[in-house]
Amino acid sequence: MKLVAVTACPTGIAHTYMAAEALEQAAKDAGHQISVETQGAAGAVPLTAAQIADADAVIFAVDVEVRGRDRFAGKPTVEAPVKKAISGSVELLARAEEAIRQAGPAGAPAAAPATGGADGAPAPVNAPSGGGSSAARFGTHLRQWMMTGVSYMIPFVAAGGILIALAFMFGGAEVAMKVNGGVFQGHTYPGVTDLSKLIDQAGYAGVLFKIGSTAFSMLVPVLAGFIAYAMADRQGLVPGIVSGLLASAIGAGFLGGLVGGLLAGALVLGLTRYKPPRAIAGIMPVVVIPLVSTLIMGVLMLVVIGEPIAAAQRGLTDWLGSLTGTNAILLGALLGLMMAFDLGGPVNKVAYTFGVGSLASGELKVMAAVMAAGMVPPIAMALSTVVRPRLFNDGERKAGEAAWLLGASFITEGAIPFAAADPLRVLPSLMAGSATTGALSMAFGATSRAPHGGLWVIGLIGRPGLYLLAIVAGVLVAAACVIGAKQLGRGGVTDRAEDEAPAAAAAAAAETDGAPAAGPAVSHEALVS
């Protein structure tokens, strides 16, 4: 048989090449042909499209995510830890043979349309990891899946976030209301319902805003879709993206998308394990799996998750309302915690809406605290990537470059790429920083007459000097917490080649734009709606 293989390990100087050599030896001994792409530190010589097209099966001997996995879509695939290829290369070849045999009758007729038909290859047989064990291994996988989703999301964050920031710079805080409707400084804007009148009603800043918020609206769907894709290949894409769209629709934010994407991927993996009768085996990949997985995920997101989130939001809103008149500093800290809790998700929106509501009733301090707290997360992450670059992978460092601008523009979502990749360390740290800023802003008595715009509307801020001080203090707290948590949890600043893999995927995905990655944000429902 003809095979192609990819080998990759965390450091990329030893096991990657040992596995390649072992596979080549075993194939030679058994009279098979194999071409191996070593994705190691010395750089990979990529397999040619012809080599991949000719191959009967693919072997992934990897401890990190395969770069450019989609090149192999539709091929019978065997996946194993890299060490398995070194000590058990013969067994891996046997598994590849088995995968070809299984895929042959079931997938061959149906897969051609499903995979674009270029190679007429059989459907994928996903046979993840033969060896390795348990929780640690699952943890590694989980991180790879989330990083894959994040790496595809980062260009959306960068492009959309910077466009929105530019819109605020040129159009002021009212640009959001001009496009989406709302009240600003006593003037009621109807919003643009007919896009052909966009320039007339909102100007070119409005156009920038509209394009940016459209790119932003894809953030959670792309995150969820490509998490599912990393888990279950292209069959995961539909239920993943639909889960993400519905997470946005029900206001579940990026955390909802994260969970939706993981569930969608797991569901598709489960469905592909099911061996159907011959009669319907042919339509499994094209019809049955996308249909069933999307239906189940859709119902789950809309019916099971949607209502509890809405109820929780109502409860939180009522509770915040009942706090009016209590200690202002505590209220500021609480709003800060909420702003950073899910970076544009349901809890963030409750806090933001509370701020806008206070603004409408003439209480300007709450809005100032909310906006200041919402600016902290992206700026803190940007600062962290500069102070301790080795704690972050390449994609994250690029996201950090754009996060400065997004944070300054009150686009809290700029921190999402960092939070989605490592939520347990990043989110609590950001919450500490935002709470500090929220409390200080209230303590200083800073005010804001603008619901959007960040530093670009500093002219509408009361006590701007102290306001900036509150933001800087929160940024320092959050960045210190992020750096501390990452160093504690990861045991130091080792250069982690494994993290480079998704970064490379991001670079590949974004190869045409070359834009720095950024985190988007729009903590404001107005932007995404």
Binding site: P10, T11, A14, G43
Partner: protein
């Protein structure tokens, strides 16, 4: 380019209680030579890699390794342990230990040499020759011949 390995980096009677001690013993030889500038820092990098996934592989091999800012040039240290050292391979302790030190920003030429070294480790004949070696110079010659072709 200086030598990948010298007789000073070979210990044919390596004694160590565990894999971390083995890495320490071999890395100390590199530190004495100046190729590792910060022994503790380098060992922390090796340990981080080791904890990610132990580097023992079947056939009695342990390959503690790291790309580290504390390394000046790509270097191999080799230790042979009669008692065996547990590198968490499935089939038991390792008697051949290869400590690979690569600079963090190593250029492609250097890394290519390490890659061909790693490829040689898979071959049973290479391993056997290392087990049969009677003095450090033999090991150095063997590596130079097999890996660098000279």
């Amino acid at each position: 380019m200086s030598d990948l390995i010298t007789p000073d980096f070979v210990d044919l009677d390596l004694v160590a209680a565990d894999r971390h001690e083995a890495a320490f013993s071999l890395a100390s030889r590199l530190a004495d030579d100046g190729r590792v500038t910060d022994l503790a820092g380098f060992l922390a990098d090796v340990r981080a890699r080791e904890e990610q996934m132990p580097t023992g592989i079947e056939g009695g091999i342990g390959i503690p390794h790291a790309r580290s800012a504390h390394v000046t040039e790509p270097t191999l240290a080799f230790g042979r342990s009669a008692a065996g050292i547990d590198f968490r391979a499935e089939d038991g302790p390792a008697d051949l230990v290869f400590l690979i030190a690569a600079p963090a920003g190593g250029d492609t030429d250097h890394l290519t040499i390490l890659a061909s070294l790693a490829r040689r480790l898979v071959h049973a004949s290479f391993r056997q020759a290392l087990r049969d070696a009677t003095d450090p110079q033999t090991v150095v010659d063997l590596v130079n011949k097999e890996v660098l072709g000279r």
